[in-house]
Symmetry: C2
Subunit: 142 residues, 2 copies
């Protein structure tokens, strides 16, 4: 799976944790453990989908624009990583004179799509606030 999903979830959880304060891409990048430009790219998708509000210029940054109780990981997955279950490599070849070789790519494609849907029904149940709660539980274990 694409790690932009991880970056998006981490960023949203961080913003939810900081309640309504804004955060710069540098601050988020440091917390996530990546480069600010990468955070800006991922959060730019979230902004276009309305999950965060961004403010350019001095004193700018990112703030949460959604209710963490309402937003599921499935929505975030759709924005950042849909289709990433399926490997880019495909078996078979349409030109071969064999029923298996000709059709395996299509069949596997369907299987990967259905598998992804199953995974997404799970992610639908998980909200950003649940992830934050899991972080709290994990922290209390240490």
């Amino acid at each position: 799976m694409n790690s932009e999903f991880t970056i998006a979830v981490h960023s949203l959880v961080l913003l939810a944790y900081r309640s309504d304060r804004s955060a710069t891409s540098e601050y988020i990048a440091d917390n996530v453990g990546t480069h600010p430009a990468r955070v800006r790219k991922v959060l730019s998708f979230l902004r276009k989908a309305g999950y965060v509000v961004t403010k350019e210029g001095s004193g700018g940054g990112y703030t949460l624009a959604c209710d963490p109780d309402e937003v599921s990981l499935a929505e975030i997955y759709c924005i950042t990583s849909i289709g990433s279950i399926k490997p880019s490599w495909c078996s078979g070849d349409e030109e071969e004179d064999c029923m298996i070789a000709c059709n395996m790519a299509d069949v596997m494609d369907g299987i990967f799509s259905e598998a992804e849907e199953r995974m997404m029904t799970y992610l639908e149940q998980l909200k950003i606030s649940d992830v934050l709660e899991r972080v709290r539980v994990q922290a209390s274990k240490k």
Copy 2:
């Protein structure tokens, strides 16, 4: 996802389609669209797990050693690609002085594991014979 899963499923479906005839790695590789050495590597895993029987030497090759009605894609996924849902890249850093940064990697790890389990309950229902049937249906559409 790792494409060894695709190669394994394709090979098993091909062997099931050819009933009890054996096939060489070169024949399978040509059908799958990869290198014989890669087929040998993947089928070597399947042999160790008892799904195929191999015969070395002249006239050798691979034959199915399982009932296609009984073997699910979940079993094959376990052998070839377990854990491949989770991206190798992890966010956060245990050393940071922030609850989110410290625990996000563990939390995401758990989420990816659960997501993978959901996907696997779907793959459990799909047998090798179902995949062969899907190939037949797909072929009849053309």
